[in-house]
């Protein structure tokens, strides 16, 4: 599932299952590159959920999670942040992080 999530709904949306929270903006080039890779991963692994968190539309995100650059991603299991990454990543790197956060 992919969902645009405002800050006030973040906890409720991500409380169950595995979620990748993608903190992004509309006009950030690396965010667009990362989104493309995440699209493929989500399509191939539909049990993984993606929360798109636009930090300009929901500025509280930056303050709450101390996000200083985009894209920043959180890997979350049942509401708990397991690990984070900043910047565009290739598929292999993302899948390694997902595997560790989901299953270890």
């Amino acid at each position: 599932m992919t969902k645009f999530v405002p800050e006030e709904e973040f906890d409720e949306v991500t409380k169950e299952g595995f979620w990748i929270a993608d903190f992004m903006t509309d006009h950030c080039g690396p965010c667009k590159m990362l989104d493309m890779v995440l699209s493929e991963i989500i399509y191939d692994n539909p049990e993984i959920n993606l929360a798109k968190c636009d930090i300009e539309k929901s500025p509280k995100y930056a303050e709450r999670f101390d996000i200083s650059g985009t894209p920043t991603i959180f890997f979350m299991m049942d509401g708990e942040i397991k690990s984070t990454m900043t910047g565009a990543q290739d598929r292999e790197t993302l899948e390694e992080a997902i595997s560790a956060a989901m299953y270890e």
Binding site: H27, M36, Y43, N45, L50, A88, E95, M102, E104
Partner: protein, 297 residues
């Protein structure tokens, strides 16, 4: 531009490209049209994916989603319920292939790291994905690289093409330029060049912030600048960027050298702010041509 580049005619860009293409993570080709269309399809329909339970007795295929009960002394493989997409190896490269071809209720056994592991399939689901439509693209509310909304599947494929090509060219550019910048250091920079780049950036920022943020940078700075960079005026910001301007001067001289151009008139980055971007795009064209040439071989 007055900064002297003491390595005129010495940069062999081909050598740096060869080094790049020997990297394990190098992009060696541009994506084909079919690959781009498939990528666009996956991206457009990702919000429409549905997982449907498979009828009893159906054998699992790669890409199916399985809920497993696993048993082992290894904590990772000792779970009452764990959801796994079969085939990509995100859970286990050893276990997943054994489950393909099995149905709900069947059990497989193997050893992982010398420890026995048992897995029983509790549920099997397969994804249903509709064909992408223009309506789905509109619903994504996605914008292209110039900020225009994407409204058709064809728009989306173009957007994916541009994004992927930029990613690949950016990757090659980053690794080659990082090396060249290291190998061709500049010991001195002309102070006028640094000053002019600061002035050009000042003008550009004033215009951009007035248009996009409604902020007059000559009177105030965005709150983020104060909080994150402890910068309280545009002058302070420009002064803080001194090392950035030096890097841009070095990079521009390297670009000009590779392209065989002189920093004169319309090609002088210290006269025209947009020239740096134009030089970068010319380097991208060079890399693209090289990728296409290597593909044809």
């Amino acid at each position: 531009m007055n900064t002297v580049f003491p390595y005129e005619g010495q940069i062999d860009f081909g050598k740096y490209l060869d080094e790049y293409f020997q990297r394990e993570d190098a992009y060696r080709s541009l994506p084909g049209e079919e690959e781009l269309i498939e990528l666009a399809r996956k991206s457009i329909i990702r919000e429409q994916l549905v997982l449907l339970p498979l009828p009893e007795g159906t054998k699992a295929e790669a890409g199916d989603t399985a809920v497993l009960k696993t048993e082992s002394t290894l904590p990772k493989f000792n779970k009452e319920r764990v959801t796994v997409t079969l085939g990509r190896g995100l859970y286990s490269r050893e276990l997943e292939p054994l489950l393909i071809g099995k149905a709900v209720g069947e059990t497989v056994q193997t050893e992982i790291g010398g420890e026995p592991v048992r897995a029983t399939i509790l549920e099997l689901k397969r994804k249903q994905a509709p064909e992408p439509t223009d309506e789905m693209v509109v619903a994504l509310e996605q914008k292209d690289h110039t900020g225009n909304p994407l409204t058709t599947v064809a728009d989306y494929v173009n957007y994916v093409r541009e994004t992927k090509i930029n990613e690949i060219l950016g990757h090659v550019n980053y690794y080659t330029m990082s090396k060249i910048i290291e190998d061709y250091p500049l010991e001195s920079y002309d102070e006028d060049d640094i000053r002019v780049l600061g002035e050009l950036e000042r003008e550009s920022f004033i215009q951009m912030f007035a248009e996009k943020e409604g902020i007059d940078l000559t009177k105030e700075v965005p709150k983020g600048w104060e909080d994150d960079m402890h910068v309280h005026s545009l002058d302070e910001f420009i002064a803080m960027r001194r090392d950035w301007y030096k890097m841009k001067i070095q990079q521009s001289l390297i670009f000009l050298n590779i392209l065989g151009l002189k920093a004169e008139g319309r090609t002088d980055p210290c006269d025209h702010y947009e020239v740096m971007m134009e030089l970068q795009l010319k380097i991208f064209d060079l890399i693209r041509t090289e990728l296409e040439r290597r593909n044809e071989k």
